[in-house]
């Protein structure tokens, strides 16, 4: 596959995915607000989704029988659903933490250690 600048190929999507991944990870690492960390996780999941969809459309879009293969897209849909579920659980836990510590600063959470 020729990779011209104006010819959009798989690699373009993968690089974008990598950028999102790294941004997400940096977010996870630097934020002290628990919700901020959750936002970072969402970015990482989006990176994975971009990969999945791009792979599906560029490389693995045809099943063995010649039909349409949808594995990547279906995977992406499930990831979106689970991200929503995970966010719900995480936020409820943050709220509970907030109730107990009156803060969502994860640096406050160091009573358990050693």
């Amino acid at each position: 596959m020729v990779m011209g600048v104006m010819e959009i190929g798989l690699a373009h999507y993968l690089v974008l995915g990598a950028v999102l991944l790294v941004c997400g990870l940096v977010t996870i690492l630097t934020k002290r607000n628990a919700i901020g960390i959750l936002i970072g996780v969402e970015l990482v999941l989006n990176a994975a989704n971009i990969n999945l969809v791009a792979f599906n459309r560029y490389s693995h879009g045809v099943s063995e029988g010649g039909g349409v293969a949808l594995a990547g897209q279906v995977f992406a849909i499930f990831v979106i659903v689970l991200a929503a579920a995970e966010a719900a659980v995480a936020l409820s836990i943050f709220l509970n933490f907030y109730n107990n510590f009156t803060s969502v600063d994860v640096e406050k959470a160091k009573e358990l250690r050693g």
Partner: protein
Amino acid sequence: MPTPALLLLIATLVPLVSFVVLVLLGKRMGNPLAGWVATGAIGTSFALSILAAISWLGGSPEWGCGNMPINVPIPWVPTGWGIGPQTKTGYLDLGLYVDSLTIVMFSMVCLVSLLVHVFSIGYMGEDKGYPRFFTYLSLFCFSMLGLVVGGTLMQLFVFWELVGLCSYLLIGFWHEKKSASNAAIKAFVVNRIGDVGFLIGLGVLFYHLGNVTLPEVWAALDSSKLIGSPEGIRVAGIGMFSVRALTVMGVGLFCGAIGKSAQFPLHVWLPDAMEGPTPVSALIHAATMVAAGVYLVARIFPILTDGAKLVVAIIGVTTLTMAALIALVQSDLKKVLAYSTLSQLGYMILAMGIGSWVGGMFHLITHAFFKALLFLGSGAVIYAAHHEQDMKEYGGLWRKMPITAIAFGIAVLAITGTPYFSGYFSKDLIMAHAGAFGALASEEGRSGWYWLLFVLPVVIAYVTAFYMTRCWMLTFWGKPRNEHVFEHAHERGIMWAPLAVLAVLSVVGGYDGLLNVKGFLNAAVTENTKYVQMVHPEGKFGGYESAWPSDEPGLSRSGEDEDHGATEVLTASQAAHKQGWHVMHQSVRWAPLVGIGMGILMYMRGYAVANVLMKAAPVRWVHTWLYRRMYFDELYMGVFVAITVGLARLGAAFDQYVIDGLVNLAGYAVRQLSSLAGLCDRYVVDGGVNGVGAATQGLGALVRMPQTGRIRLYVTVVLGIVAIGIAAVVVVVVATVM
């Protein structure tokens, strides 16, 4: 299951039942019922063991000889490989093995245990841990008896650990005493070092053979097969077992015995183990458990290569010499006895090393009687003296405790090898074989150093007589050095009765006619040889016959050496054997007399003569060196502490390069170092245990360093590792592409 095996099995289980009962109900039973329950249990075991012995003897026309050993293998864990037609192939077996040795050993353990139980009812009568004590004792009896009847090395190991556990519990019985719990930990740790060796040996054996049943192992790895094939033993269906592997295996297994029988260099735990109650010292740390090491060597004897045997002999002779020298100067009554135990165990181990199977086991049995007597006697003294153990505070006690004094005196005579006491027969047998070993070695043109294996024991025989006499003199003779102790001293019936029984045994234990221990042991050799040959026609109960004929010239015949030589054509080993007896009689004939005489002369007036001698500088130096137990504890301590400090420094250096956790760690390191400083003035075990502990703790501190409770640090560590990993892969990929 044949009757003797069944009886012994039941006899083994009875103390277990007693243990369970005491665990559940011991506290409610209280004093003295709990003690009587345990005593009843071991009494039952003893009765059963006598029955077993009778049925064993009844099983053959002539007693002992000609019986087939009873081997009852029970397939346990399938392994998929292994040798042996006797059992289901490919199983790790459990089982029972009964031969004449088992019978003798079992009866001895039961008898001594019974007497110690009875004694303890008196001795421990006022202790608040009375039910707990008997609970432990019952567990110990079960474990020890299990060890004796166990038919596989695997089982030997399991019960080995169990007796170790009991020993640990009983040494630390008075755990509120810091020294007692330290001693318990020391014993535990030092024994584990030995056990590692045992496990390695067992692992090598099992890995190659897939079977650990005693007769199978003997038959497969009989070391006499090496005589024809110097490169190793070929085992059918398994392959070659090289001499080196055999030696490693043998020495590894022997390491277990080094730990348990407190041989050099792992001897340091036994003297400290005297922190336990005195009956425990008598039972576990003199008569039975520490002898288990010798028993183990006896059981693996046929598979020991010459190299391994030499190691055994050297360890034995080192221990017996060292311990006897240290015993010369100790002032704590129990410490003297502990070191004399070490020395006597050294004799037994030496006997095994030079091939005197019967001699070693014979000495084990007789030693059990007189050493139990010595300890129980000392227990009676200590009990009478308000738990004062220092001989400096005794003196003149025979007037208050005549029975104890006489019994103790008999034991002293037995251990010194005075003619016609039990120790005489067994010890002389060992030394005769040592002499023969030397003779054989020089005949084969080996180094003259082999004679040391004879000379040192002989010299130490004189020393033994001296220090045991010293012990008796300082305790019972002379003027009372502490009026308070003297006033308080008295005797109790329940405590002197076992002494009397043991005194009788100490006298008659060695005769051929009465207990006939030696006859049993000779029979065991014959039986095992026959049995192994039945299993594997080419096998032997190896090594023994190649050194000496099992029926050695008895004492009665020792005077008529010349006649024999004229009529028979002797094999080389028989000739050497005869020469051994000859040399031995020349050397040690006067040992008891000289030693005892010296002792009496020197300590007639208490410490007076000794104090004069101490004025001379070289003597004082030697005395201090010996009194501080040749500085072994300090040496071990130094090594452990050095390692600990080194590791701690390493850990501390590592810390500085990590951003987080530094604060936590600084505090930790300070505490660590301060505890190290406090460590320096303690004993070696503290040093050892804490050393290992601190090393692990140091590692633990490193491991827990990121565990600061900060979730972001956790994630950072994880992602950092991931990033490094991926970067590494990129580098590799790029490098391959380039």
